[in-house]
Amino acid sequence: MKIYKLSFLLLSFMAFIAGCKKYAIIPSLKDPAYIRVFNDLNNPVDVFHSQQAAPFLTFLMDPKTDGAGIPNDAAVIGDALGTRQLFSLSYPINEANSSTGDQLIGYVNGSYILEPPVLYPVNHEYPGNAPVLSASFINGFDLSAWAQAPSGKHRIMFVVRPQNAVGFKDLSTAQRGNILLDTTVNFEKGEVYTLEVTSRDLDNNKYGLYIRQEQFIHQSFQADKVYVGFTNLSGKTPIAGQYGSGFFFWDKININYSYNILNDAISNATYFSYNPYPGYDNNYYTTLNTKMDTDIPYLTLPLLPESSFFYQALIRTYSPVPLSNPANYQGSLPYFSFVLSNADSPVSNPNTFPVETFRLDCSADPNTINNYDTRNSSVTNYTPNLNLVVNTGNTYHVYGTLNIMEIVYDRVYLMQVQRGFNEIPKN
């Protein structure tokens, strides 16, 4: 009996020591800066453009290189960095979710289909769901989508990597050697930085790193307002934009805005009508004359009383994007819309080719918008509603948001920064 007890204890002990290594607690950083990294590249590489960078990268901070200068490790590795999603929040929305098997909905041959899944892991941003120390509330914003990084100078590198499930360090030397960007940046302590890999000139394979030191942590914002800023991060329009059927934003962009309220009196299940909120009917906002601006002025928009978001005590609905049925139905929630147009060609007819106007309806459901394929649906004409509906205290409340709209070639990425979850809004 004794020997069996002993062997049981021995085996249990062996099992204990053979058990998995636990995650070490990440040591906290002194005087950190905060970084978030996006891959804005979206160009599929084709036979005539094989020198272009396929939009699938590895982000390396402070890389270690071999004798030939090829990176093989780094202090921070943000691997499998795919093209960013249309909508991103200030906290990681894909946290704890599977990052594999991205399966999009596309509109193909007249019906909506579930497209084939992507069979390798894709991260749409760094840190995303990586287990890192993140920023906390700064200036009332939840910034946990930004990772802590030691302040000071850092070498930043981006490598174009194969679209598969092999980790960066296990790639072959030839694969790790496809360096897209190699630069040095300085992060100041306590500052918030958004880093984006952008294309400067697709036809000539020129790329650059766009770094924005976020000013919103230093600015003051009113709780009962919605803020929207635009910046154009497109590179030179590729030649395909001149002769092809693809759409590209223009070099100079006029922006007009409206606030649309459903006319409950005359709308029914098959007919919908929206009235402009008084004073917000196709107003001119600004013209973006330059690209890669890091200073973002904000348009201030009203946050309506909470009652405007309910109908007969029920919360109103989002647009069934992009399945608009009946046509042009944008949901029953109040929503903002923007019309972007070519500032160099102000007389425009939206039905002619080339297209000179682009309508952006901020009416979609934030929960589903990233499920749609940007190529095979009209989803690029939408962003989520800028009035954020959140369940707090078992009741829906509507919060104002800070929104940065980043125009990149054929689409507008929305980065929504949220405020004031710790208190019930006063609207």
């Binding site: 058990g19 590489v45 005539f48 296990d170 072959s172 395909a240 002769y243 059927s245």
Partner: protein, 358 residues
């Protein structure tokens, strides 16, 4: 009772070990096979012609070395497909054969997984000339199943990948690779079926640049294509360069470009812009798995033409060739040091359609 203690402990041990997160398998460029390259080639009858060539050129001695090497080995079927039989193989002079066979050997260990995910990634062969590897790039237009390991070398499909030896890998080729010509100019000049085309290029001042670094892709109509359209050498000599738009022949030369026809499947064109831009016209390409690759010369406003089913063009943007339809390739993928020549099956632009009307 005693047994159950043991059982519980054993299961516990197994369970905890199995629960561990496994490290992903590293891409090793080190070959893992047990037999040397030469033994595999020698003992496998389907490589008998390649092995004979290795022996005759003395390259078998090289492959006996430590390496590592990657051998791009055409099997006997591949020789047959390339029009080479045992007899004609024996008649190739040894120096030429050595050049060709050493072009099939890369002094590095290349496994499929270690190849960058792009088209025409260049490796240097033992002969010194570059060999181009293409693997499919995943994307919305990719129609090949990327889960299948697909590799094209100089446009030639690889039948079997990663045959591991102790001193390298063998990639089994479906055709023999052509040794690259000195330049696309030299290739065109030395190939009789392009003599009309060469004459036309010379006349329009486009020929001499073809020995520059490029790289160039030349879409070359054969003599037969000229004859079928009623154009003989005298007619070419009579073409007055001032009377014809430049693109009559300049649209046949794409630079800087380097691609093989299989690249249209490994890196498909986007439906929003399936064209190549030249200074005067677009070259509109279509590639499908059943009909292969074809192309036609179209004006810049081809989208507007396609959208208009009425006269004068009835929605057909192929305004310049005899059939008003895309043309195919009869003899593609001839590599030179500074580019690739693809023989076409018709004239893409008839002289009459490119005439300047005053």
């Amino acid at each position: 009772m005693k047994n159950s203690y043991l059982l519980i402990a054993g299961v516990l041990l197994l369970g905890m070990q199995a629960a561990c997160v496994k490290e992903p398998e590293a891409i090793s460029s080190q070959a893992t096979g047990s037999r040397p390259l030469l033994t595999i080639l020698k003992n496998n009858f389907s490589y008998s012609m390649f092995y004979t060539a290795l022996e005759r050129t003395g390259l078998d001695k090289t492959l006996e070395g430590k390496g590592p090497f990657t051998v791009l080995a055409p099997d006997n079927d591949a020789f047959t497909l390339s029009g080479i039989n045992a007899d004609s193989l024996s008649r190739i002079d040894t120096a030429t054969l050595k050049k060709i066979i050493s072009y099939h050997i890369i002094p590095a260990s290349i496994s499929y997984a270690s190849i960058p995910q792009t088209i025409d990634f260049a490796y240097k062969s033992l002969a010194g000339q570059l060999v181009y590897f293409s693997v499919p790039i995943p994307g919305p237009q990719q129609t090949q199943y990327v889960g299948n390991q697909i590799l094209h070398i100089n446009g030639v499909t690889v039948n079997k990948l990663d045959i591991a030896a102790s001193n390298g890998y063998i990639m089994d080729l479906s055709k023999v690779l052509n040794y690259p010509a000195a330049s696309v100019k030299a290739y065109l000049e030395s190939t009789p079926q392009y003599s009309y085309f060469v004459q036309a290029l010379k006349q329009f001042g486009l020929f001499n640049m073809l020995d520059k670094p490029g790289p160039f892709v030349v879409l070359a109509p054969t003599n037969n294509d000229f004859i079928q359209n009623g154009i003989d050498q005298a007619a070419i000599a009579n073409l007055d360069t001032l009377t014809y738009k430049k693109f009559l022949f300049s649209a046949d030369i794409l630079s800087p470009q380097l691609f093989f026809l299989s690249d249209f499947f490994d890196a498909p064109l986007q439906p929003t812009f399936p064209a190549y831009v030249t200074p005067d016209v677009l070259l509109l390409f279509t590639a499908d798995r059943y009909n292969g690759v074809s192309y036609g010369v179209v004006p810049y406003n081809y989208i507007a033409i396609q959208a208009n089913p009425f006269p004068p063009d009835y929605g057909d943007p192929y305004l310049y060739d005899a059939t008003y339809a895309p043309i195919g390739f009869s003899d593609p993928d001839h590599l030179a040091v500074n580019g690739v020549v693809h023989g076409t099956s018709d004239l893409p632009v008839l002289p009459d359609s490119a005439k300047i009307h005053r």
